[in-house]
């Protein structure tokens, strides 16, 4: 097992390197860079440019050097925890993003939990009551969740929650808590505000999960060992829980790899609409203003989140599924 973990971790390194290179190329793609635009803007307004500071920035990040050198600078910085400098905010990136990264993580985690909690019972019900009205209704609901653009659902739900439950629109907590230290009330407020984003981001992933669980469970239920069990007189609930359900649980674990990028994507657009203090809105504005290091760190973080998620899902699958053997064993 330990060997597997180490092996898996080692594989992550080239993946992450490739991702970082890709990210860097993407954030370098727009013609010109932030400093150029910034200088042009200042000069057009007739203001003096802090030449010294700009020169210093240029040197520190090697903006006047070829791209590959810039990339190495950036990568070296990342490895030491220096995420670069946000030109727009005139602050190191790490000073701005800390809270946002954490909140993104919280929102994503909440969504994953929501997806599992909702998809599990519905999937089981749909499979055991195949072709019933409940099955059709839930399937249709799932499809509807899949087809409705997230952002619109977010808008409508925001309005509804404000209208009927009095939860303030936008943000992740009531306005009066924003700059206060963490307390029980603040926690409660955050949890309240998490409901809508979780619901919205979760809908798409939930629909897919339900369908896969249903299909898997249906396959298992038709196998002969289930008939045998039933013939032996096992109570239906026990028969369901003990064998087929265990077998069909794999998508729950293995799909986290597919689920996470989907959720992260969803959370970006939803948090823009709902102005959540997560990565989404800031990433968008950083991309618009070519604040490359800020945008780059967000992209890296989102990719890291999914890579780690996949790693965890692989490990969990190896632990939980007895059919997966790590140590070769008998080969053909």
């Amino acid at each position: 097992m330990l060997g597997y973990i180490v092996h898996r971790l080692l594989i992550m390194i080239p993946t992450l390197l490739a991702i970082s290179a890709l990210t860097f190329i993407i954030i370098q793609l727009p013609p010109g860079d932030y400093l150029e635009t910034y200088i042009a803007e200042l000069e057009s307004q007739g203001e003096s440019v802090d030449v010294e500071k700009i020169q210093q920035l240029k040197e520190q990040y090697g903006l006047d050097k070829p791209m590959i050198v810039q990339y190495l600078y950036w990568l070296g910085g990342l490895l030491q925890g220096d995420m670069g400098y946000s030109f727009e905010y005139s602050q190191p990136v790490s000073a701005i993003v800390g809270d946002r990264l954490f909140l993104t993580f919280v929102v994503t985690l909440a969504t994953v939990l929501f997806t599992y909690i909702v998809a599990f019972p519905i999937g089981v019900y749909s499979a055991t009551h195949q072709y019933s009205w409940g099955d059709y209704g839930l399937t249709f609901l799932g499809f509807l969740g899949l087809a409705t653009p997230n952002f619109l659902l977010a808008l409508v739900l925001l309005y509804m929650f404000n209208r009927y439950f009095g939860i303030s629109i936008g943000g992740l907590m009531e306005p009066e808590f924003v700059d206060q230290p963490w307390s029980a009330e603040k926690m409660a407020s955050v949890i309240q505000h998490l409901i809508v984003p979780t619901l919205v981001i979760g809908t798409a992933g939930t629909a897919g999960m339900i369908r896969r669980l249903r299909a898997n469970l249906l396959d298992e239920l038709q196998k002969q060992y289930v008939t045998t069990g039933r013939a032996k007189g096992l109570p239906p609930l026990k028969l369901l829980l003990k064998y087929p359900l265990r077998m069909s649980l794999n998508p729950f674990i293995s799909d986290i790899g597919d689920l996470l990028p989907e959720l992260v994507s969803g959370s970006v657009i939803v948090s823009v609409v709902m102005s959540l203090p997560t990565t989404g809105p800031m990433l968008l504005s950083a991309l618009r203003s070519q604040d490359m290091y800020l945008a780059g760190s967000f992209l890296m973080f989102l990719a890291l989140l999914t890579v780690i998620g996949m790693f965890i899902s692989d490990l969990a699958l190896a632990v939980l599924d007895p059919r997966i053997r790590l140590h070769g064993g008998a080969t053909k």
């Binding site: 080239p14 653009p149 629109i169 992260v264 969803g266």
Partner: protein
């Protein structure tokens, strides 16, 4: 059955045993192949081509057929967008800004009039400067009047000349299938902040929204087949590299990547170029799933005898892949490509909604939804969210149709 029959107890006993059956000989000439010969219906079934069988199987899937019909109608409509829409894409009605949808009626006070709408009475709420439109149906009292104004019936016209337009931006014309009455209005889905008819804009936006998905999928289809085909057929290090690249691409969340790439499109590009840029971006990141499917199929198929035979006859790799291997699972590929189109439609909608996608004057459903970005719209002008309706319908239709296709893709099962 082995025991000797006891008279009176056997089920077969009685009268039958007393009069034995006559020896029967068929007079028809002996035909040794009669068992192997098929009825006309069997023959039709067994000799049908693969595509014909897929069609039969698809036909049995009700929902898929209905969805297919919807898709067909929607895609057909993009050739006639300007004729279906009652107004031009850019026609502005400054007297009717943020007008709510007008309802189509058939009867006025009990008498049949044919399809018509009531004219709008406009008043301004001076407290919050909200525009209020009340239909002149002879009953509703506008807030600034004491009694209802006289009813105004505007009969809709059909196959008529109306708002001028340029068909596909090239051929000028003014023929519409449906027009408002002379000097009347017809805002079936209301108007937006510039007083433009939402219905017309949605109908014309269909053209862009639907083609984005098609072009994007074509690109990813091509890339997927080529890259997956070579990885699967050659195996070895080509395969390893492709696998790693796919892994990296798949671990990147789609939307932020789309965002970053479309932010990289130069600002000075024309909207049409941006449109192609967006479709290429959508396609560029989407080929991974298809490439995987192609690869795994090829890995197993290249061991088949027919493949070895082709190799021995000296066929080149690209001929073997293109001529012998791909056709054997093309139907699967098409089905899974169909299931990718809705993701692209949603992707374009999301990008345009965030303002990083298509730009006006190119109009798609996402561009229209861009207007519905804040909570005011939900409360005050909910009809601005109507472009979401075709999005949902199309995504559902594609999903159901794709499901049906996937089931039908393997007709021998």
């Amino acid at each position: 059955m082995t025991a000797a029959p006891v008279p009176g107890q056997s089920s077969r006993g009685g009268a039958a045993s007393r009069t034995p059956l006559k020896h029967y000989v068929s007079a028809a000439p002996f035909d040794p192949y009669s068992v192997e010969r098929m009825t006309a219906e069997q023959e039709r079934y067994f000799l049908a081509s693969q595509w014909r069988m897929m069609w039969w199987k698809l036909k049995r899937h009700r929902l898929a057929v209905i969805s297919g019909a919807i898709l067909l109608v929607m895609y057909a409509s993009i050739f006639l967008s300007e004729l279906i829409a009652p107004y031009n894409l850019h026609s502005r009605f400054t007297d009717f800004i943020y007008a709510p949808p007008q309802r189509v009626h058939l009867f006025h006070e009990g008498s049949f009039q044919g399809p018509f709408v009531y004219g709008y009475h406009y008043s301004l709420n001076m407290d919050n400067l909200q525009r209020i439109y009340t239909p002149k149906d002879g009953k509703t009292v506008p807030p600034d009047m004491a009694a209802p104004p006289p009813p105004e019936i505007q009969k809709l016209r059909f196959f008529c000349l109306g708002d001028p337009y340029e068909y596909m931006g090239l051929i000028p014309g003014s023929f519409h299938f449906i027009c408002p009455a002379e000097n009347g209005t017809m805002f079936l889905f209301g108007t937006d902040r510039l007083g433009r008819d939402m219905f017309s804009r949605i109908v014309i936006g269909t053209r862009v929204s639907l083609t984005v998905g098609l072009i994007g999928v074509s690109i990813s289809f091509l890339l997927g087949i080529i890259i997956g085909g070579f990885a699967g057929y050659y195996g070895g290090w080509v395969d390893i590299i492709v696998q790693r690249v796919i892994e990296v691409l798949r671990s990147l969340p789609e939307l932020p990547l789309w965002l970053a790439l479309s932010a990289a499109l130069p600002v000075n590009w024309s909207p049409l170029l941006i449109y192609f840029g967006i479709t290429i971006i959508l396609g560029l990141l989407d080929w991974t799933g298809l490439a995987r499917a192609v690869r795994s199929k090829l890995l197993s198929l290249r061991e088949e005898d027919f493949c070895t035979a082709a190799q021995l006859m000296g066929a080149s790799p690209s001929r073997i892949i293109g001529r012998h291997l791909l056709p054997s699972f093309m139907s699967h590929l098409i089905a899974s490509a169909t299931l990718r189109i809705p993701a692209m439609i949603l992707g374009e909608t999301a990008l345009s909604f965030l303002g990083l996608g298509l730009r006006p004057p190119i109009t798609s459903w996402g561009v229209l939804l861009n207007e519905a970005q804040n909570i005011n719209v939900v409360v005050l002008y909910p009809w601005l969210m109507l472009p979401v309706l075709p999005v949902v319908v199309m995504v559902l239709a594609f999903n159901f149709f794709g499901d049906g296709l996937r089931d039908a893709a393997d007709p021998y099962k």
